[in-house]
């Protein structure tokens, strides 16, 4: 056993547990800081990385496309490892299987050597992170940095009490010292502003974060045109793809199908802001029309028979051809080819953009600019600088040797070169699951070393989607009610939406459901967002 324990320790521990919650967890949060202070925060200057010319140049909304990795990657840190110093502990999450421990992980060891320090990661599965986070906060003994997700309540007070304001290191031109962090889009930094300061580093994600995928091979097989011009044509396309006798259906997840139809209708992305007044997508007058449209698709048998009863199977249904159209994250594009192309000759997918419901252009909802943020425990200035240098290295962009190491590991162990392109080996696939993308990251880029021919299609989709992007105006704002009760309430709303689409409830019942949402907390969430918006915009 570790420490020597006296009876007094035991007594103090057991009796002080409850009190410790209040005292240790939040400490003295200090006086409330006016929201208006957030308006005064100078965000880091945006200095795009110019060290490499992409094959398919992007914009702020469109990701750069790269057909091949540079044969001579740029040396990210000519002066040697940038973050020399004591080990750095970081608590973060993962979607992937857990990586092998550092002692048996060549990739992790090489990453540490390149940084000049030892990264000690406390990794929790993504679903367990919300359970673990408050416990660690209550324990008081924080790691050097922690991923702070959007679901964490009392965020401003917690950040003020326990975490470092990084403004003096990052604000405005101060970011020049960390050029790879300066390469992160400004929109992603907005999500890190609290208490009149910059309280973390973003984990940037693509503006065009989602794609309505379709199986291009099945379209070709049936000589169908995926470029539908309105909902009627979309429905016709689905009908022609549907083949229930062979257990082949057009669509899977009813909810994402609804989102796609709402994009056709121009329904707001979460919220619409008009002169400081917020309207939720749940109250939009076009939502019942969208529900009715998906209900018709379901009644026509165009959705997989299990679509309303299962979760987490849609990806496999799409990959195996059981459904032909599927809404997913942008990064799933490469993943589909990796997982399914091997066993399906001619496997091909592409992205479909929502047309206007009755013709004309539709819209495309942006994803979150940042997945979460990485906050630093309060520490002396030099320690904070070391942490920032390490994170700057973890944000080294495509084309650098540091990026290649971070994503593809060590040559000969984690990847083999095909020309200049690193192809992950099975060992690499396991070792590189160290979740650096949930610490911070460079801006995403379109690159698929196993199949570069896919990249132009990805880039073309991004360009088309960027023209009709609709942002979520609540991003970067904070509503305590939304954080605490918004999640479970939204789950209830999703169930109601599904009940209507499945035909278990009438479309007209939505008005009542929406009113109860407003009563329960919708109106409170709205007013909190409006108050926040006003404080920083007026």
């Amino acid at each position: 056993m570790g420490a020597h324990v006296t009876r007094r320790d035991l007594l103090r521990t057991s009796l002080g547990a409850a009190a410790g919650l209040a005292l240790t967890a939040c400490g003295d949060g200090g006086p409330a800081i006016p929201l208006a202070d957030n308006a005064k925060v100078r965000l880091p200057e945006y200095i795009p990385y110019q060290g490499i010319t992409p094959d398919l140049p992007g914009t702020l909304e469109v990701l750069d496309g790269h057909l091949h990795y540079p044969a001579e990657p740029v040396t990210a840190f000519p002066g040697g490892p940038p973050a020399k110093g004591p080990a750095i502990s970081i608590m973060t999450m993962t979607f992937s299987p857990v990586p092998p421990p550092i002692e048996r992980n060549t990739y992790w060891q090489a990453l540490n050597r390149s940084l000049g320090t030892k990264l000690r990661l406390e990794i929790a599965p993504i679903a367990d992170y919300p359970s673990k986070f408050p416990v660690i906060i209550a324990g008081g003994d924080l790691p050097d940095a922690m991923a702070v997700r959007q679901e964490i309540p009392q965020r401003p007070a917690m950040l003020n009490a326990l975490f470092q304001d990084l403004s003096e290191h990052l604000s405005g031109s101060a970011i020049h010292e960390y050029p790879y962090l300066a390469n992160l889009p400004t929109a992603s930094w907005r999500t890190t502003v609290y208490n009149g300061g910059i309280y973390g580093l973003p984990m940037p994600r693509a503006s065009v974060g989602s794609v309505m995928f379709y199986r291009a091979d099945r379209m070709r097989e049936k000589s169908l045109d995926p470029n539908v011009r309105d909902f009627r044509e979309f429905r016709q396309l689905c009908t022609e793809l549907n083949d229930p006798r062979r257990s082949r259906y057009a669509l899977g997840d009813p909810l994402t199908t609804l989102y796609f139809v709402l994009e056709m209708l121009g329904v707001p992305n979460q919220w619409r802001e008009t002169q400081g007044r917020f309207t939720s997508w749940l109250e939009d007058e076009r939502l019942p029309q969208g529900l009715d449209a998906v209900r018709q698709l379901a009644q026509a048998g165009l959705l997989h028979p299990d679509a309303f009863s299962v979760a987490g199977k849609f990806k496999d249904w799409f990959g195996s051809g059981q459904i032909a159209i599927h809404y997913d994250g942008n990064a799933a594009w490469n993943d589909f080819y990796r997982r399914y192309a091997q066993d399906t000759p001619g496997f091909a997918i592409d992205g479909m953009l929502a047309p206007g419901f009755d013709g004309g252009p539709g819209t495309h909802w942006t994803g979150a600019s940042s997945f979460a943020m990485l906050a630093f425990k309060k520490a002396p200035r030099e320690r904070i600088r070391q942490l920032l240098r390490a994170c700057n290295a973890l944000a080294a962009p495509f084309g650098t040797d540091a990026y290649k190491l971070r994503k593809y590991g060590v040559e000969g162990v984690d990847h083999e070169l095909n020309g200049a392109d690193p192809i992950l080996t099975p060992t690499g696939g396991v070792e590189t699951t160290v979740p650096t993308i949930f610490i911070t990251d460079s801006p995403m880029s379109l690159y698929f070393p196993e199949n570069p021919d896919v990249v132009p299609a990805q880039h073309a989709f991004q360009k088309r989607a960027a023209e009709v992007l609709v942002r979520d105006p609540s991003e970067g704002l904070y509503s305590e009610t939304d954080v605490t009760v918004g999640g479970p309430l939204m789950e209830t709303m999703r169930n109601e939406l599904k009940a209507i689409m499945q035909g278990r409830k009438s479309v007209s019942s939505w008005t009542h459901t929406m009113r109860s949402w407003r009563r329960e907390s919708g109106d409170r969430i709205r007013s909190e967002y409006e108050r926040y918006w006003e404080s920083i915009n007026r």
Partner: protein
């Protein structure tokens, strides 16, 4: 299989052949309901990517058996290490839990033991009011047990329900036997070792299995207390694979990843690995279990 012979049980009317056949069919269906998912898990773990995806994740017979899923999860050694951790925690935890529970239950079964009543009250109190997650975490932290295997063993070492089960059994042992041993000069420890424990093997086996299964299945404490994945037990590793099955939404997907077997095959392979040790132990305890489950069954 030996030929079944019909035995007349007094007071019971012999059932007709069709009814016996119907009962056999019902029992067969029940057996299949248990066996098919079990077999399917093994089959899925051995099936290749194509078959798993075509079958929607539920394979009954692997057409082209492959060990890819096992190779993938054993690469890097995390699963094998997690198995070692689980076996170690379960073995040490169960042994210590049995030692503490048997001695505590024996003490509580002897009226007149020092502090008998307050101890029993404290035990019953812990049955009704369990500590919350955060107080438990603070206690473990103050004890310096974060990232220590003891944090997986100590918090669940004494289970009030199991102690009460053992105490009930010890109370049913004839007092005369214990008095006789005392007259022969045996100490309390000797009585426990030489009289009580040998007579209570069935109860101890059942409680031992309860402890072993709870140690084997526990993942939450490891998630809270173990910072290094190298020290994770099997169930937490299994959970990360299960969680990994969640659909990837907009903007939250990972970037790189090699071609792994389908997630259902990986989950099935870990499930198989995680149940094998308990399956190995079970036949050795079965003899005691049959007696053990009858504890208290005919008590008024």
């Amino acid at each position: 299989m030996s030929t079944a012979t019909h035995i007349d049980i007094p007071g019971q009317t012999p059932s007709s052949a069709p009814w016996r056949a119907a009962k056999s069919v019902i029992l067969l269906i029940c057996c299949l309901l248990v066996a098919v998912p079990f077999f399917s898990i093994i089959a899925t773990s051995l099936a290749d990517t194509r078959q798993v995806t075509e079958a929607g994740g539920f394979v009954l017979w692997p057409d082209r058996p492959t060990l890819d899923a096992y190779q993938a999860i054993l690469a890097g050694g995390l699963v094998s290490q997690a198995l070692t951790v689980s076996v170690g925690v379960t073995a040490v935890g169960t042994a210590l839990a049995l030692l503490s529970s048997v001695t505590l239950a024996y003490g509580l079964s002897r009226p007149g033991t020092f502090g008998h009543r307050p101890t029993l009250m404290i035990l019953l109190f812990s049955l009704l009011f369990t500590p919350g997650v955060i107080p438990s975490y603070l206690l473990i932290k103050q004890l310096g047990l974060i990232n220590s295997y003891w944090s997986l063993i100590l918090p669940t070492m004494v289970n009030a329900f199991n102690v009460i089960v053992l105490r009930s059994f010890f109370l049913s042992i004839p007092r005369d036997l214990i008095d006789a041993a005392r007259i022969d000069g045996a100490s309390a420890g000797q009585i426990l070792r030489s009289v009580v424990v040998p007579l209570s093997r069935a109860a101890i086996a059942v409680v031992g299995l309860f402890y072993a299964v709870s140690y084997w299945n526990a993942f939450f404490n490891a998630m809270l207390y173990m910072n290094e994945s190298a020290k994770w037990p099997m169930q937490l590793v299994l959970r990360t694979y299960v969680v990994n099955n969640s659909a990837i939404g907009p903007g939250e997907a990972a970037v790189a990843g090699a071609t792994l077997p389908p997630s259902q095959a990986l989950q099935a392979a870990i499930l198989v690995l995680s149940i094998v040790p308990i399956l190995i132990v079970y036949p050795f305890l079965q003899r005691h279990l049959r007696k053990g489950v009858m504890i208290g069954a005919v008590k008024g």
